[in-house]
């Protein structure tokens, strides 16, 4: 079985993202870029499945600027076998990304496509579900546990009401939640080895997928800021403040 994993290049989660003063976008110059944290978890899961003998090959794929090579190289250093970079210089919205993953899934025939539950830049949480729809296969989103049993998988999902379990036939699309695993750190020798692993680049236009970029963005604004309030000295002060606001 092959496993296809999505690695999106996003602004690192530690960066406090700021809107440009003219409202035309967010500040990206000189900002640290990383693999979307949920995608690292996706790759870690794929590697563990391979190491347990249930998969032969792990392919990482990214759709984005040439610079996304960095994130794919990191993925190869973590242990992926090969990488595919679909080069797109403009923004890639979830429906477009899903059409690309669908195309790759048809070409590679993976038993599992593992994506993050959301990209922490657009916070859309759509791509995995869309790939599953286009591919006409099961989806198991927000996974915190994944068990393979031959031709099926049992997946525990983090839902608002608790932990839901579903069973899906393979091939299937899984999207990862934070508690699925803790991704490994990359070791220096692995970075050297990764340089020799194959990384194929192709322009988005060559894949022949229809663009799904239907959303246009007219303005970026900073969120309404909450004001720093009052500090109280002790519990009695807190009780007085709460009473004044009519909260107790």
């Amino acid at each position: 079985m092959k496993i296809l994993v999505g690695l999106k290049r996003v602004i690192d989660y530690n960066v406090r993202v700021q809107v440009k003063p003219d409202g035309s976008g967010v500040v990206t110059d000189g900002v640290k870029m990383s693999i979307n944290p949920f995608d690292e978890i996706a790759l870690e899961e794929a590697l563990r499945i391979k190491e347990a003998g249930h998969a032969e090959e792990v392919i990482v794929a990214s759709i984005g600027p040439s610079a996304a090579q960095q994130q794919l190289r990191t993925g190869l250093a973590m242990g992926a076998d090969r990488a595919v970079l679909v080069v797109a210089d403009e923004e890639v919205q979830p429906l477009t990304a899903a059409r690309v993953f669908h195309k790759l899934a048809e070409k590679e025939g993976p038993g599992l496509v593992i994506l993050g539950k959301q990209a922490i830049d657009d916070d859309s949480s759509q791509t995995g579900q869309m790939v599953a729809a286009l591919w006409d296969r099961p989806q198991a989103t927000f996974a915190s546990k994944l068990e393979l049993n031959g031709q099926t998988a049992t997946v525990t999902r983090e839902v608002d009401a608790g932990l839901e379990t579903i069973e899906v036939d393979l091939p299937a699309v899984v999207t990862t939640d934070l508690r699925l695993n803790e991704p490994r750190f990359v070791k220096l020798p692995d970075i050297m080895k990764a340089k020799k692993k194959p990384l194929d680049e192709m322009p988005l236009a060559d894949l022949g997928v229809e663009s799904g970029n239907f959303i246009s963005t007219s303005a970026y604004a900073p969120p309404a800021q909450r004001q720093r309030g009052v500090m109280v000295e002790d519990v009695d002060g807190l009780l007085t403040a709460l009473k004044e606001k009519g909260l107790i």
Binding site: Q93, D123, L239
Partner: protein
């Protein structure tokens, strides 16, 4: 054909509060609003839905084997119902987030996630980058709008409605490739975190499941729901359904009490719309104090029991 269809969310027997909030968003779009309830036993849920002010019609679709919780089973039916609608909405809860992108992809349209304000029938505001930026987005006027509603941004629709309820059996076969196995919930007697007017949350500082007891005691004294930071959930002090934040629940209670929580950006995303934020933390420099309306610096293990006692 300017009409809105809302996919109702429920737990198998009762309507979820997120549905009434989605109704408020739909009302702002301005068209007639119908609701559809997919459930193994839809009647009681539909009766509740029919009482929401502003709903024109409620459709019931009877499912089996809990397929009403499976996106793969519902999406084809929603696609056939959608032929009569310009807008399809669901709450941006794990239910709606799982379901609606599958519908959008089958319809070949984009989805607008986490609608926080309606600027026009095809123009909306939504948060990106964990709420660090708010964007105004639009889809072409001739395109169907498929969107999830950020429930913390909308008040619940009032009751008092009396919509007609009709059974429907939309085309669209449920695939056999996905099967529902079960739900392990924490079945708490406490107010629901997502709709409670008061919420008390604990963080990593609680240091154990046993210590979290002081948070529950305070919450019970206040009649509050209980939440937690990701660190507290990851450490196993509390179950996952209590996580508040970017990747947990986005809530808007009148009162939010953050105890031993540092105030990481991903946590703050979940509480931006709270009425009053109270922070209790031993570190006067903790970022939570930058957003707190009332702050108290000190050791939670002294403060919380004293607070509970004085409130009791």
């Amino acid at each position: 054909m300017s009409k809105t269809l809302i996919i109702a969310e429920h737990n198998g027997s009762q309507l979820n509060a997120s549905t009434a909030k989605s109704m408020t968003c739909a009302a702002q779009i301005g068209h007639d609003v119908d609701l559809v309830v997919f459930a193994d036993q839809p009647d009681a849920i539909a009766a509740e839905a029919a009482g929401l002010a502003g709903v024109s019609r409620v459709f019931t679709v009877t499912t089996s084997d809990n397929q009403c919780f499976l996106a793969a089973a519902l999406a084809p039916m929603i696609v056939s119902l959608a032929a009569d609608y310009s807008h399809v909405l669901a709450p941006s809860t794990t239910f709606g987030k799982d379901l609606l992108p599958r519908v959008a992809a089958l319809l070949g349209v984009a989805q607008i996630s986490d609608i926080m304000a309606v600027k026009g029938p095809h123009e909306f505001e939504r948060p990106i980058y964990a709420g660090n930026a708010i964007v105004t987005v639009s889809v072409p006027a001739d395109s169907k709008v498929v969107g999830t509603v950020r429930t913390a941004s909308f008040a619940a629709a009032a009751g008092g409605g009396s919509a007609a309820v009709e059974a429907a059996s939309p085309a669209g076969e449920a695939p056999s490739h996905t099967r529902y196995v079960g739900l392990a919930g924490s079945a708490s007697e406490r107010p629901d975190l997502q709709s409670a007017p008061k919420v008390v949350s604990g963080g990593r500082a609680l240091a154990s499941e046993e210590n979290f007891e002081i948070i529950y005691k305070l919450a019970d004294t206040l009649g509050a729901g209980v939440g937690a930071s990701r660190a507290a959930v990851d450490a196993g002090y509390v179950p996952n359904d209590m996580q508040v934040g970017q990747t947990g629940k986005i809530i808007a209670p009148d009162l939010y009490v953050a105890i031993g929580i540092s105030g990481a950006i991903q946590h703050l995303t979940g509480i931006k719309d709270a009425g009053t934020i109270v922070a209790i933390n031993k570190d006067a420099e903790a970022p939570i104090f930058e957003v707190a309306d009332i702050g108290l610096v000190g050791d939670l293990f002294n403060i919380v029991p004293e607070l509970t006692e004085k409130l009791g």
